[in-house]
Symmetry: none
Subunit: 150 residues, 2 copies
DNA sequence: CCACCTTTCCCCACAATTACCCACTTGCAG
DNA sequence: CTGCAAGTGGGTAATTGTGGGGAAAGGTGG
């Protein structure tokens, strides 16, 4: 499931954040009723339940003898929680995820292919800054991007 | 049975640790009433009773002529205990396992495919550190991870 | 075989967190 | 102006996590 758009919300003292109405709507349309959240790359990743099921399936195939990949599974799966929107469309972000992503007040939710991302506004702005410096000045990368047909 | 999520608890002077409510719930739903704990890779592994039965079955096939595998079986099986949650949802961790995993006060429980892991908070944080250094900086590995559809 | 000490089991009680409501505000559409 | 949907805030009841007391069980030394 692909998500689109950028949304700004506030996370309240109880740790609740609103999920963009269009995201919730698409979830319900496809007969699902929950998201899965986990921690990755300084923000939180959110997946539709069906997409998450596929991920878990692949994670469970990682051989437990592969030390490095197991470290990844530990981190990624260890961070995961099911999140069911309440009647107002919010989900509860548990303390461990809140602190990982540095979510305190202002929060940005970004649509991505197969997932959405929850960022603290601060970090998101820094990320944008890095993007403009590192990515746009990297001619090689810019060319690859234009190959995407953009 | 797959477990997910990261939970922080304190182990009390009697050696009791809480088991995350969702883990207990899933166990009961599948008609089981106990876990099995054993020592491995600096932490404790916890299995649902049914999954543990499968493991024991496979361990019992290890030929007694294979010296190295037998050493493993001795260690793995020798550390194993059945653990039944009390009315408050805690299990008692015997002293031998407590000292193996260095469990003293703060404890982290991680969900994994087919098992969960009990870490001392200290060791877990070191593990995270290694993960960020070794795994995320390994471009090859990061590519393999993204092949998991993440 | 008994007395003693330690460990484990089974309660109860309290604190913290979460789930489930309902209410208010704002912006947009009819 | 009215009605609806979206986003925010808060109250209360239920669940979850923590600590401790005392009885039962198990192990050890005399």
């Amino acid at each position: 499931m692909i998500f689109r758009g950028r949304f700004e919300y506030t996370i309240d003292p109880k740790g609740r954040v609103n999920i963009p109405a269009p995201f919730r709507e698409r979830l319900l349309e496809s007969g699902q009723d929950s998201f899965f959240l986990t921690n990755f790359s300084d923000c939180l990743y959110g997946f539709a339940a069906d997409d998450w099921a596929g991920i878990e399936e692949r994670l469970s195939r990682v051989p437990s003898t592969d030390r490095k990949k197991n470290a990844f599974v530990r981190f990624f799966l260890g961070g995961a929680v099911e999140a069911v929107p309440d009647k107002q469309g919010r989900i509860l972000v548990p303390p461990s995820l809140r602190s990982y992503a540095g979510l305190e007040k202002e929060v940005v939710i970004l649509g991505m292919p197969n997932r959405f991302e929850i960022w603290s506004l601060d970090r998101w702005q820094q990320e944008i800054g890095r993007f403009e410096k590192e990515v746009l000045e990297d001619r090689e990368l810019v060319r690859e991007i234009s190959d995407l047909g953009i």
